[in-house]
């Protein structure tokens, strides 16, 4: 599988390494070349400097033959726009979008994007820990 990941933050870099370690071909995009250090010295994929909401950049990254696309930048709107380009313009089969804002996540889930909200997942995980330990003072 060939995957393009937009945004080389903590999540993007970790996802890129997980995929590469599984033997997949990976290209990571970021607007800041300094961000690529997060991938570590053993990263087996490719990196490319550029903005994922620019169709020319996406083409150069090879989006026309990509099997999957993940948008993991800090900006919800950037992720949403890039994902819609990947899905609707380039027909990438699997597209996933990180959206922090739960309301926006709802809207775009309705519009057919596959979304992941760290806000929702994170809060649920924390809630789980707090309520399931049966601890606290009686």
């Amino acid at each position: 599988m060939f995957a393009i990941i937009m945004g080389c933050g903590r999540v993007g870099a970790r996802l890129a390494n997980l995929l590469a370690d599984q033997g997949h071909e990976v290209t990571v995009l970021d607007v800041n070349s300094q961000a690529f250090w997060r991938l570590g010295p053993d990263f087996r994929g490719a990196t490319m400097l550029g903005n994922g909401i620019d169709v020319d950049v996406l083409r150069r990254a090879g989006i026309e033959r990509a099997d999957s696309f993940a948008a993991t930048t800090q900006g919800d709107n950037r992720n949403i726009m890039a994902s819609q380009i990947a899905k609707h313009i380039f027909n990438v089969p699997k597209v996933v979008t990180r959206i922090y804002d739960p309301i926006r996540q709802d809207t775009y889930a309705d519009l057919g994007l596959e979304t992941v909200s760290p806000t929702v997942l994170g809060a649920a995980a924390l809630l789980d820990v707090i309520t399931s330990q049966g601890a606290g003072k009686d």
Partner: protein, 220 residues
């Protein structure tokens, strides 16, 4: 008309000002508090501080009863999301977005935005008008119908000069309803003879545009 203007920078500010002067109900949504204060001082109580891409902010702004939302922030991705959320979640009938990268125009259209305005493209169009290279310059594009109003100016070298319009054998997807000659409009008939200096205004599809260029400029 109730118009929501997302983004209170220079474009948003002057747009809101004009709309208010025309008697429309206007609300500007702007993230930056300082900018909000400036707008409030100059234009009155027509500004709300917040992120227009947030559904809760749009709800508070009464977006559900808005006739149009105009997104004019400096970032294409923000303008796209604001327009989409307004249209899909609040059923605003018309969304107009400013774009910076002209290549995004096609993307915005495919993603359901009614109209886009690109200052980059406008400036490019003016530049092209200044160029003598037999250009066919688009004046207005009606995207949803793939039709454009285009203009080209004939010079002495144009092979069609001196010939009647009917000789052009225009294709069905293209028509010439207007010629500007010596600064005056002329509504041509098939017998109208073309002269050097004529500004030809044509209505054409995208395909017809290339045919028109060939017909007007290709040597015969």
């Amino acid at each position: 008309m109730y118009a929501i203007v997302a983004g209170g920078g220079k474009v948003g500010y002057y747009l809101a000002k004009e709309l208010v002067e025309q008697g429309h109900e206007v609300l500007v949504i702007e993230r930056d508090g300082k900018q909000c204060a400036i707008i409030q001082e100059d234009l009155g109580d027509i500004v709300m501080q917040g992120d227009a891409a947030e559904a809760s902010v749009l709800a508070e702004a009464g977006t559900a009863r808005a006739d149009v939302i105009v997104s004019v922030t400096g970032d294409d991705e923000d303008n796209l999301v604001i327009s989409q959320v307004a249209k899909k979640r609040f059923q605003v009938p018309r969304a107009i977005a400013r774009i910076n990268n002209p290549k995004n125009e096609q993307i915005f259209r495919m993603l359901g935005i009614d109209a886009t305005v690109s200052s980059t493209e406008v400036i490019l169009g003016v530049l092209e008008q200044e160029l003598p290279a037999h250009a066919i310059v688009p004046l207005l594009r009606l995207r949803h119908a793939d039709v454009a109003v285009v203009e080209t100016v004939l010079d002495e070298q144009a092979p069609v000069v001196g010939r009647p319009l009917r000789d052009l054998n225009l294709p069905a997807e293209c028509t010439i309803p207007l010629i500007i000659r010596g600064g005056a409009p002329l509504f041509p008939s098939p017998d109208t003879r073309l002269s050097a200096g004529d500004e030809i205004i044509a209505l054409t599809t995208t395909r017809g545009e290339a045919r028109l260029r060939d017909l007007l400029w290709a040597p015969r």
